[in-house]
């Protein structure tokens, strides 16, 4: 970081140019990948776990169903990004609060998908057969219901991963994500906003990184869906 290298366009020394403090965009981008992808992954995992718990609870133990699903409906009524902004505003701008906020925002979809998978599977004869064989609730949930609903869950998690990368960028751009100077992709874009015409490279390259990451996760999700869709492998 040297002030004499401020706003240098892409060159051999700085392949993606430098920003207003003379920092190399490429190294900030690479460093930011850790944070952005880390947040994406944490959100996918956290909302996956919470969504699975809620989905199984309401799908299998029907007495919780209407209560849990009405709560999920209430959460789903807010646009995910609005909800995340609200929660981050309350928890303060830290990386952890971004992860929590986005996880909460994406739980309802995951919970609904797990619930619908569980509802279908629990009516199949092999669940009945397991009950008839004397299996208890825990065994039915962990050995029969969960492994069979894993397909849609994994697909959903890969989509949440890509939504979370986008949403994290949006939150950082709005200035309520991970606090600067932490180099998340959204932060870099946000910092380049004022000089976007002259120093176009500051916003362009992290933008490309975000698009590619989101596209990649979406393609992964599509691929996983093709592989895991039970309708395609019933008669193997």
């Amino acid at each position: 970081m040297q002030m004499r290298f401020r706003f240098k366009p892409p060159s051999l020394d700085f392949p993606l140019g430098t920003d207003g403090f003379g920092r190399d965009i490429l190294s900030r981008l690479l460093h930011g990948a850790r944070l952005s992808l880390g947040i994406g992954l944490s959100v996918a995992l956290l909302s996956g776990v919470m969504g699975t718990l809620i989905g199984v609870a309401s799908g299998h133990f029907k007495q919780f169903d209407s209560l849990l699903m009405r709560c999920m409906d209430a959460l789903m009524a807010f646009p995910a990004i609005m909800l995340a902004i609200g929660i981050t505003a309350v928890l303060g701008p830290q990386t952890a609060s971004v992860i929590i906020a986005l996880s909460v925002a994406y739980v309802p979809r995951t919970a609904r998908i797990v619930r619908s998978a569980v509802l279908v599977i629990r009516e199949t004869e092999y669940i009945q057969a397991a009950i008839v064989a004397g299996a208890g609730n825990a065994r039915i949930v962990f050995r029969h219901l969960l492994p069979n609903s894993l397909g849609p869950l994994v697909v959903q998690m890969s989509f949440v991963f890509s939504y979370a990368i986008l949403a994290e960028a949006a939150l950082s751009f709005l200035g309520i994500g991970a606090p600067p100077p932490t180099p998340s992709w959204g932060n870099i874009i946000s910092e380049g906003r004022d000089r976007s015409i002259e120093a176009w490279w500051i916003m362009l390259f992290p933008g490309i990184a975000i698009s590619l990451a989101a596209l990649g996760m979406n393609l992964l999700g599509d691929g996983l869906r093709d592989v895991l869709d039970p309708r395609q492998k019933t008669e193997g």
Binding site: Q63, A133, A135, H144, P230
Partner: protein, 329 residues
């Protein structure tokens, strides 16, 4: 209960909560199963056979079902048994096989996993020993090359093979009663015969009682000693199997027997019983079969017939047929 009885169902009534109130699926059903006895439960779809069978293991959803009556197994009422005892009973003492072998095995577990699971639920047995037992069981149900097949996933097995695996799982813990809910309906005829032969051999070998649920009287004639015929949620006739075929004492039983296509006569049309089951919400003032009955008289319309116990065993709900037959009450 007498000492040679294994299971006694008395006064079983099952009601389900439907969209327009409670509907009665099974009403006042009573029968018993003796030790090592094969009983057939016959009736068309919707007559309450499966509901009765599921009640034996108390498998109905509690919140939307109302069950009354008693189902005694060795003096214990399975309808009021605590959850833990019930779990021990299921798969251990009373096992069940289902109609559709295509969907009754978990697709993500191998055959070995599923048999071992059943074994370990009821016996304190190590994984490797359970695996050996699983292979023995597959051999017992005549699956060729059992040692290799045991590691297959269900989708690699044919329907007949899967039903054999289901049977192997069901008999894994040497149950005293096997409930077979239309075990051959989804299979083609040659496989049906093999599965029935297998079931009969196993029944002799393991000295089990079998409750066979079916709508196929051909299967009944081959397999069971005593038949309970159900119609619209009620038992309408109970008879030793020979008596049922020689002298059915209810027009509905007669109709079922007539519906078996004869081999030696060229029939243009297959015989059927005209009409259909009454709606479960309907309130009956007379006999439930009256609308489809060819032998009805005026009293059939306005008095509900009760089950008439007959002197030589069995019972019937048709006073007219019983009268005509001259069988002693």
């Amino acid at each position: 209960m007498t000492s040679d009885e294994l299971l006694r169902v008395s006064g079983l009534t099952v009601k389900f909560l439907g969209e327009s109130g409670w509907l009665t699926a099974v009403e006042d059903v009573s029968f018993s199963i003796g030790k090592k006895e094969c009983i057939g439960l016959v009736g068309e779809s919707g007559s309450g056979k499966s509901v009765t069978a599921l009640s034996v293991l108390n498998l109905h959803e509690r919140r939307t079902t109302e069950i009354s009556g008693r189902i005694e197994y060795f003096g214990k009422n399975t309808l009021t048994l605590p959850a833990n005892d019930l779990r021990r009973l299921r798969g251990g003492e009373i096992a069940m096989i289902f109609q559709d072998p295509m969907s009754s095995l978990n697709p993500v577990l191998t055959v070995a996993d599923q048999i071992i699971e059943t074994l370990q639920l009821h016996e304190n047995i190590s994984h490797s020993k359970a695996r050996l037992r699983a292979i023995e069981l597959l051999e017992l149900v005549r699956i060729p090359d059992a040692a290799r097949r045991v590691d297959e996933y269900p989708h690699r097995l044919s329907g007949g093979m899967r039903q054999r695996v289901m049977i192997a799982m069901a008999i894994a813990c040497k149950p005293k009663l096997l409930i077979a809910d239309e075990p051959t309906t989804a299979l083609d005829v040659t496989i049906q015969a093999e599965i029935l032969n297998l079931l009969r051999d196993l029944q002799n070998e393991l000295e089990m009682s079998v409750l066979l649920i079916t709508h196929d009287l051909g299967v009944i004639a081959e397999f069971v000693q005593r038949v309970v015929v159900m119609y619209a949620g009620q038992v309408i006739e109970e008879a030793p199997v020979m008596r049922l075929f020689d002298q059915p004492l209810h027009p509905y039983s007669q109709g079922l027997i007539n519906a078996i296509p004869p081999l030696h006569i060229d029939m243009r049309r297959l015989l059927s019983i005209p009409g259909q089951l009454p709606d479960s919400y309907e309130i009956h003032s007379g006999c439930r079969f009256v609308a489809r009955c060819t032998e009805r008289v005026s009293t059939c319309l306005n008095s509900q017939p009760s089950l008439i116990a007959l002197q030589n065993g069995g019972s019937s709900r048709c006073p007219i047929r019983v009268e005509l037959s001259g069988v002693q009450r």
